[in-house]
Structure formats: structure tokens, C-alpha cells
């Protein structure tokens, strides 16, 4: 029998579930704010504003938990991208997902104790967590304290620009979430990866 790999430590799983719940709250309230209407609002505007702000601050605190966890535990090394063979590995993985998977080829980068993520996962996780997430947090905090935003950027409202950055990065992370959820069904069974995130074993 194949031995199970313990890849998801407790702190990571706690952060993951907190992050997931808060992110869903932020998407729901964010969409409700962006598409607010006099006749019909998904969530009442005032409630949506305060919930979005509270969830935003909470997810920022949780984000630091994720960053420090990766800085001070071995989990951080899984996110390191090696330059050597970067594009060819990425292409191999893309080829697998777009063809190989349908003809029952073996996954080119199986999960091991040293390799938790395949090259595509690695790039998308790093992009989401270390690129889009900080942009999201910074622009969100700026919108909570708009007095610190530069009022005019080349004739364009600084607050508006910050709002656009916040919305675009939020949209990017929402798309990431959709793809992330779908790819989680590509495990031994469609639910095995979800179970891994609960019990920690892959």
C-alpha cells in the first residue's frame, strides 16, 4: 500500500480554511458593492461595506500568517521557482492537462515529499499569493484610508486608480479561485484533494 504523504501542516490548513471563508465573503460583498443598485442590492450596502472592511483586515492578518509560516517552516521551499527548465517544465504540464490527462498518461510531476506542486501550480500560486494578494491588500487598505492616496496621478483620480487596481486584482484572484477549485478535482478521486486539505495527508 502506498504510504501517505503529510504535506499540509496544521497551521497551513487553519490559514487555508480562514482564507477561503474570508475570500468568499469578500467576493460576495465586493460584487454587491460594485454592482449596488437602488432597486436591488445583493447585500445591503452599509452591511456590505462594513463586512468587506472587516473581512479585508482579517484576511490581511491571515495573509501574514501564511507569509510567516512559509518563511519559518519548510513549506516555503515548495514555492521556490527554479529558472532552469522553467518554461519547458511549464509546457510539459500544460501539455499534460490539455492532452495527456485524457489519454491516461502519467502525471509528469507527481507529488512527492520534495515536490508538493507541479510547475503550473507553483507559478499560479506564487502569482496569486505573492503578486496579486499583496496588490489586493495594499489597494484595499488604501481605500479604507483614502486620505493617504495621492489625489491626482497624471490627471487621473488617485482614488479611482486605486479602486480599479483593487477591482482588477480581485477579479484576477476570483478567476484563480475558480480554476483552483476545478483543478482540486483532479486527484486520485475528485474529492481526494479536498480531503487532503482537511486531514493534511496527500
Amino acid at each position: 500500500m502506498e504510504s501517505k504523504l503529510y504535506l499540509y501542516p496544521v497551521w497551513l490548513r487553519i490559514w487555508h480554511i480562514i482564507n477561503a471563508v474570508l475570500f468568499l465573503v469578500l467576493i460576495a460583498t465586493g460584487l454587491s458593492l460594485q454592482y449596488a443598485s437602488v432597486d436591488y442590492s445583493f447585500i445591503d450596502f452599509e452591511i456590505a461595506v462594513s463586512t468587506h472592511n472587516i473581512a479585508g483586515v482579517a484576511i490581511t492578518i491571515a495573509y501574514f500568517m501564511f507569509v510567516f509560516g512559509n518563511l519559518f517552516t519548510k513549506n516555503g521551499k515548495f514555492y521556490k521557482i527554479k529558472r532552469k527548465g522553467f518554461f519547458s517544465d511549464l509546457f510539459t504540464q500544460i501539455k499534460y492537462y490539455s492532452y495527456g490527462i485524457f489519454v491516461h498518461q502519467k502525471t509528469p510531476f507527481p507529488v512527492t515529499a520534495k515536490r508538493k506542486f507541479n510547475p503550473l501550480q507553483k507559478v499560479s500560486y506564487v502569482g496569486a499569493m505573492y503578486f496579486l494578494f499583496p496588490i489586493m491588500i495594499l489597494s484595499g487598505l488604501a481605500l479604507i484610508f483614502p486620505e493617504f492616496i495621492v489625489p491626482n496621478v497624471f490627471g487621473f483620480s488617485g482614488i479611482h486608480l486605486t479602486g480599479l487596481v483593487h477591482i482588477i486584482s480581485g477579479f484576477g484572484l476570483s478567476i484563480f479561485l475558480c480554476i483552483h477549485l476545478y483543478f482540486c478535482t483532479i486527484g486520485k478521486t475528485p474529492t481526494s484533494n479536498f480531503k487532503s486539505m482537511i486531514d493534511g495527508y496527500h
Binding site: L33, Q34, Y35, A36, S37, V38, S41, F45, E46, V49, S50, Y97, I101, F102, V103, H104, P146, E147, F156, S157, I159, H160, T162, G163, L164, I167, I168, F171, S174, I175, C178, I179, Y182, T185, I186
Partner: protein
Amino acid sequence: MVTTLLLWMLPVATFAEDEEAPVFENAEYNHQCFKCHGQKTYRYYNESMDREMKDRMNPYFIIDSALYYQSNHASFMCTDCHSPEYETFPHAGELRMEQQFACLDCHGGDETYAHYQFERIEEEFQASIHSTKHNEDFTCWMCHNPHTYKINARNNHNIKEVIVYDNNICLSCHADINKYQLLSDEENPSILAAHEWLPNQTLHFSKVRCIECHTEIDKEMLIAHKVCSKEKAVKRCVECHSQNSLLTATLYKFETFEKRNKLGFFNAAILTDHYIIGANRNYYLNVASIVIFGLTLLVIIIHAILRIISK
């Protein structure tokens, strides 16, 4: 050499002359008034003491001549509105009881001013809380100082300046107990406390005018004058924070008139310079987000179907 230099300088001198401040024909006449009413002190001959005396001018009777000559009434002589008997100095005491003009006395029924809709303004004002609560004690001058008032929202495209100018009109009473109590025995209510419920108070106060929430909007009028009681003030966030934001009918009315319907996108005008959560919607971003989201779902569905088929 000197002639050449003079010829070269000539257009500059002409240009400099063009740039000079406009000359007001009434200035010389008005100067007789500003000699005292433009200063903090004035001199007069006291007959009973038989000597010239210097006294302090009542601060409420001091008119800033610089602001006056920038105002809409700059071309007026003081006696166009005030009694010609003021030409006698010291002024007769009963002159302070003189009847003051209201806006409609000059502007009413005049085609020249038709686009300002003075009659409609008067109608709205009569229905406003200012008029219904204080009757004739509340005049146009309570808000529009005839000596300094100048048209603002129509001429100024800097919305920030328009907001400051218009809000200062409200604050001149509602943040000044001395003027407020001219009409009311009530204690001056604290604006900050009354607006405690409003999130991001500072931002709201600097980005919108009091009248946006405190007047009944009339789509046909640029500036609504029907100031309502506080119970009727706009308190629902979505009234402004939504696609058909009421700000497009008030604060951004001029801008939206000019730029509306660009790509059929109602909020195009607000989009460029201002940001209001819920009201700013970028047409291209909306389309792009729907397309990207749709394509993502489509790819996921196709991929999932192929996985099921090839199982």
C-alpha cells in the same frame, strides 16, 4: 538702437496693458463708500464734541472690495441697491431700516436671466425648510452674500472648488453660532455629531456638497433650492453608490450633460475624475470581466466533460 529696442518692446507693453485688471466705471463712485466700509476704522466729524473722531467699523458692515469686484454684482454702484441718501455722511440712523431687495426684484421676469430659472428657484425656496420655518426672515442673502456672490457651479469645472464654495455657504450659518442664532434660538446642532452614522465622514464632506443629500432634486434645475428637513435627507448609501447615482443629477450634472451617452455608458463622466464605489463602472472592464469569466467557465466545463468521457 534705442528705437529698435523700443519697437521690440512695444508689443510687450501692449500685451501687459491687455492683462491689466478690468476697469470698473463705478469704482470711483463706490470708492466713496469703500473708504470707510472697506476699512476696519473710519473717521467722522462729531458735531457735539466739535472734533474729528476715529472709530471702529462694525465688522458686519465691512465689504472686501477685492471680492466685490470679482462678484456677479461687480458693475453695480452701491446706491443701485442701497438708498441714495447714503451719500450723506454721517448716514441718517433710519437708513439701516431700509428695505432690502431680493433676487427676484431685479432678476424676475427678465429674459436675460431666464436660463438661471430665478422664478423656479424662488418656488423651490418657498417650499424649503428655510422658508417654511423662518418665513420672511430667511432671505436670499442668508446664503448668497450680494457683495461677494459669484456664479460657481456653472462656470467652474473644478468640482472640488465647487464643493468647497457651496458647502461654505451652508457652514456660514450651520457652523457659526452667531449667524445661526439670527434665525433660531436653538443651540447650534453639531454637524459632526449629526453625521456620525456616515462612514468616511471626512471624505464625504470634502467630496460631496451638503445639498446633494439635503435637497429635493429637480432634474430641470442645476442647483436644487428646496432644502428639506433632516428627516427627509438622503440616508441610503445606494442612492449615490449605484449605477444611476443621484450625483449625476446633482454634483456631476454639468459634466454628465456634456459627456453622457458616450458608448451609451451613463457614468462615463464620473469615471474619469472621480471614484464612487458602486457608481463607477468601466464599460470595457465590465465586458472584459464577463468574457474572461465566461471563457474560464467554458474551458473548465469542456475539460471536465472530456475527463468524464475519457475515464
